[in-house]
Amino acid sequence: MTLKQLQSDFIACIYAEQTDKNKENNFKHLLCEEGKITPEQRISIYQNAYRARLYGVIDSDFPCLGKLIGDDLYHPLCSAYINAYPSHQPSINNFCAHLPEFIRYFDSLKNHTIAIELCDFEWQLRTTFNAKNCKALAVDYLQNIPGEKWPTLTFELSHGFALKYFSMNTVEVWLALKDDTTPEIKKLKQAQTWMIWRQELVTQYRSVEVDEACLLQAIADGHNFQYLCEALLEWWPEEQVPERAFQLLQHWLNLGFLT
């Protein structure tokens, strides 16, 4: 048997659920009988280690999801995810990247809005934590912009900055679960926007006003200051627009995510 064939059979056997004896049989006959434990038991050490390691990765990337939905929903979700998305990367860091999408279509959770939103939030925290460093603009940046430059002024958001729209009190629920207390789960009257970013090394999150969310999205889309001001007209009388725009920009500079 070639090494390639042996490796393909071994990995199929590791992936196989323990009930899939066919895959195991293909591989088992290659193994020595040694000591008191059988080739089947030896194979199951690898099968268990494989699943345990990936469960461990999901647990650490989503510390509150399991607490929210309980073992009866969490274990089948993890197991189905591991089967659906075996790792193709040298690094295990991004193994869970598809879980926020996967949970939306997972039968027993697809209508479980709080689980879907919490999963999305936890993965965003993880992504932001490891995002590329960037140099934030200085807090006095705006003071040095000449007047004629303002209309065409554009900004960039730091790597790892994200906006999330939650229809439930997701962050509150997450905080309660983090403290091991029972969350009170509520549907909000109006969806709330949250921003997640990293200030130096610390991952931050904060809810944002409706006009603020709209402007942050516009910045993410590459629009300039003039566009931002026009957008603000939806909420503010014309004479107050420059003040609000300036106030928001200064606020964001203080939070350290404009680059």
């Binding site: 048997m1 390639k4 042996l6 590791i14 280690a49 040298p90 790892g160």
Partner: protein, 290 residues
């Protein structure tokens, strides 16, 4: 029996760098190590933990690299796989090497995946000529690409193949000599395999090329009676420390460190364990000189 030809090594046996007694750097200990500046001679990082774009891991890495010699230990080189080498991974690793300037770079004599799948586990393979040729030519390519020799580590395993034509230590010796690379000899893994595959661990220690052994690992395991699992979640077992003493008597001074990856105790406990390793080393060295 394969008779490998001896090759010229960058570190001849009497000039191997000895860095003393180290610890595996894990995020759980970042603050304790920085605050206490404890008696640790060097640190080993898991390279993959720092193959991220930014944030805390790289920030801390920079702090540690100013303070300690660092060895880079990887888990994803997939050396023995029949897939093509992952050049993206090797390029990223090379960048990290340039940044860290480690004392050396290591990975495992095993494969982790095939057909572009990754199990993130260290998987064994049969000990025969085809494996030796396959692995050693890949190590040569890796060393050429990284422009430096690497260390390969022996792994714990829970099964063995009927196809094997030699012992694990004969296999490892041939790979190292064919590839012209170094050995990171994990003493716990030797003990684990001796129990799982029923051989004398001293035969293993005496069977590998002394001049190529540059580093030792020590770690805890879980003993299930009929078999042992390499878990790194407990203190080093007494028979492993005993075997370590025999290793020092045989190999002389080799840089050594403790790997702890789960069930993390306070740093003080690991330091006490490291002191115990130091005193075993000193006793063995004294006995060696007699």
């Amino acid at each position: 029996m394969l008779v490998p030809t001896k090759k010229q090594l960058p570190y001849p046996c009497n000039q191997k760098p000895f860095h003393g007694f180290g610890l595996g750097l894990r995020p759980e200990y970042y603050h304790a190590i920085l605050d206490q500046e404890p008696n640790i001679d060097w640190l080993e990082i898991i390279s993959e933990n720092y193959l991220v774009e930014g944030g805390k891991p790289l920030y801390f890495l920079d702090l540690f690299k100013e303070r300690y010699p660092i060895a880079m230990h990887g888990v994803s080189m997939n050396i023995a796989s029949t897939d093509p080498l992952n050049m993206d991974y090797l390029n990223e690793l090379k960048q990290l090497i340039e940044h860290v300037q480690p004392i050396w770079v290591s990975d495992h004599c095993c494969w982790t995946g095939v057909n572009s799948h990754n199990t993130h586990d260290l998987l064994p393979l049969p000990f025969h000529e085809e494996s030796i040729q396959h692995i050693s030519s890949r190590i040569r390519q890796i060393q050429d690409h990284l422009e430096r020799p690497i260390l390969i580590e022996n792994l714990s395993s829970y099964l063995s193949f009927k196809d094997s034509k030699m012992t694990e230590w004969e296999f490892l010796t041939s790979v190292c000599e064919e590839a012209d690379c170094y050995l990171l000899l994990d003493i716990n893994n030797i003990y684990v395999n001796a129990r799982n595959h029923n051989f004398d661990p001293l035969d293993y220690i005496k069977g590998v090329p002394q001049e190529r052994v540059v580093q030792h690992h020590l770690a805890g395991h879980s003993d299930h009676g009929d078999y042992i699992i390499d878990t790194h979640d407990a203190s080093i077992a007494a028979p492993v420390l005993q075997l370590y003493k025999q290793a020092v008597e045989h190999f002389g001074p080799v840089s050594v460190m403790i790997e702890r990856d789960d069930n993390f105790p306070p740093l003080e406990e690991l330091l006490t364990e490291l002191d115990e390793v130091r005193s075993i080393f000193n006793v063995a060295q004294d006995e060696r000189k007699l």
